[in-house]
């Protein structure tokens, strides 16, 4: 009896492994093993064929000096500690804690800026540019898509004829193959005066813009403060205080803003994702019973109050999910940027994933590109953990 049960259990175990073997084998070979293999490749000079073992020097190419990396790490640790200090419970001397926390936060940010300015001077400038593009791209797309998506979801949550048709209709930009949709926007944002975007610009009495061919930042285009900042940089630079000049040069690279080309790419991103965001929000909204709105209205709550106190908390799981996939999505972005990027934009629309691709595929620098891949992986991993910690406590999952 016992041996029968035992052999049956062994049989069930073996059967389980047999059933998962094909999937686990494929995922292991093409998703798990490559993580370690990338790390291995990054330790070699590897151009198509494996060359000499070079240790960590591919990473040194990225950072310039180990000093830069050390300062960056110190800055990040300080920022992390400051955030922890600022967030802990109400015990202890509150004023002192806030003061120390704010000071640590400022110090950490300053250290990080100094480190990145050092990377810009001695490390891989193009990598740094791609990181900045990724950050601008996230900031320019995710919050706007959340807001527009929620607004559209509130509209679609009403009862009206053709509701289902509209829901499907707004999902089509998300369903369409990216390359085909990007092919259309590549024409819409072309620099010719008859392009659709320039026709719309003409309605607002704007001269034809360069769109995807414009490498200059939008703040630079809007306010034209570029010349003044450059003059300031040169003045300080010639005064001989090196570190101040680098930091100013680095800050200037941010101050010009995302390029107009990147803004055009971002608008494409909105067009693709707003309908999808709305659909996800709609799922959350439709679970809010109508009685809650009625009760709120009876209590005299205005629209803004309903939005803040009822809608936002109740859709927060959707917000969390969309923020996570939105930010990670900017680190994965490839297809539409491959179509929409132009030589004239000078790399101002290439986020890290695209930079990595060209380093690997067009320059055949397998070793260095793998080092970039490891950094990209660490950043995505860090962001995921950070987002989970920051948002889980603010997310309302229901009783």
């Amino acid at each position: 009896m016992r041996s029968g049960g035992l052999s049956r259990r062994i049989k069930e175990n073996l059967e389980g492994y047999a059933f998962i073997a094909p999937a686990v084998g494929l995922i292991g070979l093409f998703s798990v093993f490559p993580i370690f293999f990338t790390g291995y490749i990054s330790l070699f000079r590897w151009r198509i064929r494996r060359g000499d073992f070079v240790g960590l020097s591919n990473y040194l190419v990225a950072f310039g000096t180990w000093g830069n990396l050390a300062i960056l790490a110190a800055g990040l640790v300080l920022i992390y500690l400051a955030l922890r200090l600022l967030r802990t419970g109400p015990t202890g001397a509150r004023a002192a804690r806030v003061t120390v926390g704010a000071a640590a936060l400022t110090g950490g940010i300053a250290l990080a800026i100094v480190a990145l300015a050092g990377v810009m001077r001695t490390g891989d400038t193009d990598l740094l540019t791609s990181l900045r593009v990724t950050v601008w791209y996230s900031l320019g797309t995710v919050p706007a898509q959340l807001a527009l998506g929620l607004a559209l979801a509130v509209l679609l949550n009403r009862k009206f004829r053709g509701r289902q048709t509209y829901r499907v209709l707004f999902l089509i930009p998300y369903i369409v193959p990216t390359v085909a949709a990007a092919a259309v926007f590549e024409r819409i944002f072309s620099l010719r005066p008859e392009a659709l975007a320039n026709q719309v610009a003409a309605l607002f009495a704007l001269r034809p813009l360069q769109w995807l061919y414009e490498p200059r930042g939008i703040f630079q285009l809007l306010f034209g403060f570029d010349a003044r900042i450059s003059a300031g940089t040169i003045a300080v630079g010639s005064s001989g205080v090196g570190i101040v000049a680098w930091v100013l040069a680095y800050l200037r690279s941010w101050a010009v803003g995302p390029s107009l080309a990147l803004v055009a790419v971002g608008l494409f991103n909105w067009w693709v994702f707003v309908g999808y965001y709305a659909l996800i929000f709609l799922n959350g909204l439709s679970q809010i019973p109508k009685q809650i709105y009625d009760a709120a209205e009876v209590d005299g709550a205005g629209r803004f109050m309903i939005l803040r106190k009822i809608i936002l908390p109740l859709v927060s799981p959707s917000t969390y999910f969309l923020t996570l996939i939105g930010v990670i999505g900017t680190f994965k972005a490839f297809n539409h940027i491959y179509i929409l990027r132009t030589a004239a934009a000078q790399g101002t629309v290439d986020p890290m994933s695209v930079y990595l691709f060209f380093t690997f595929f067009h320059q055949a620098r397998f070793g260095y590109a793998s080092a970039v891949a490891v950094l990209l992986f660490l950043i995505v991993l860090g962001l995921t953990l950070l987002q989970r910690r920051l948002m889980e406590r603010r997310t309302f999952y229901g009783e």
């Binding site: 069930e12 175990n13 389980g16 059933f19 998962i20 094909p22 999937a23 686990v24 084998g25 494929l26 995922i27 093409f30 998703s31 798990v32 093993f33 490559p34 993580i35 293999f37 559209l152 509209l155 289902q164 509209y166 499907v168 209709l169 707004f170 089509i172 930009p173 369903i175 369409v176 990216t178 390359v179 085909a180 949709a181 092919a183 259309v184 024409r187 008859e194 026709q199 309605l203 067009w271 659909l279 996800i280 799922n283 959350g284 999910f321 990670i328 994965k332 490839f334 297809n335 491959y338 890290m352 990595l356 691709f357 690997f360 397998f366 990209l376 992986f377 995505v380 991993l381 995921t384």
Partner: protein, 310 residues
Amino acid sequence: MMGRRRSGAARRRRIRPLKRASPAVAVRIATSRRIAGRTLFYFLLSAAAFIAFIPFLYMAANSLKTLGETITRVSADPFSPQFWPTVPQWHNFVQALRDENMGHYLLNSLIISMTTVAGVLVTSSLAAYAFARLRFAGSRLIFSVLLATLMIPDTVLLIPNFLVVARLGWLNRLPALTVPFMGSAFFIFLLRQFFKQIPASLIESARMEGASNLRVLVQIVVPLSGAPLFTAGFLVFSDSWNALQWPLVVTQTDRWRPIAVGLAKFISEAGPYTQLRMAGAIIALLPTVVLFVAAQRQITEAIASTGIKS
């Protein structure tokens, strides 16, 4: 104190309707406000639909123009005749399909996507059944490791996978474009959720009668899971059809180049031929859109609910 505040609130609530004008006027105000609200609502909705749709109209109109018309006959307003061609140039599509090799790429993509769909459905159903129904050591650990792989950006896997596939001798061949995508943690998760909802008694009784697990999966579970399997199939098809980065790397010849790569190449080489690019784009998006429209309700539901579950 508390009692006073509450009674104050109650008084306010009771008084408010009385403060308004006579009932007839109140009704009229409410009606006109509702009409205004409704007008605004339809205006906003139409505006959003217009923005979502104008790129498709632009694509359709320009795919049917002559080269000259794509430059001289333009408008931002789809209601103006200037937006559309004078005579639809249907031969643009013939030209894109034949001269620009789009027909060949289209066939490649169909074969690649169907093969991948078949592979994913087989491996994922097997694994999902095991994770939902069989008890074996380490199943929870293995499942969570599989789920963790979903966070890895594809770009990170590009270089090692290229080296592996090259070593296997798969470059420029069909397996390079299909096999690496045949295992997917996401679809194992999706199907497992569904398989778990199938009543255990159904499976137990079949097992009692001596049916093997494989037979239970094929003859009981799969026939009951038509909807989720179809949805998974659509999502895999759409992903495979969409893939650009990996096929760019592993196809150096036209033999197995999928349509996404073909279209991307065409765009970078076509020069000013807007009409042919738009015809090519329409050819590339048609299969996915047809599938989506055919099963829109089901796919929409699936996308909405996976959003919450993952």
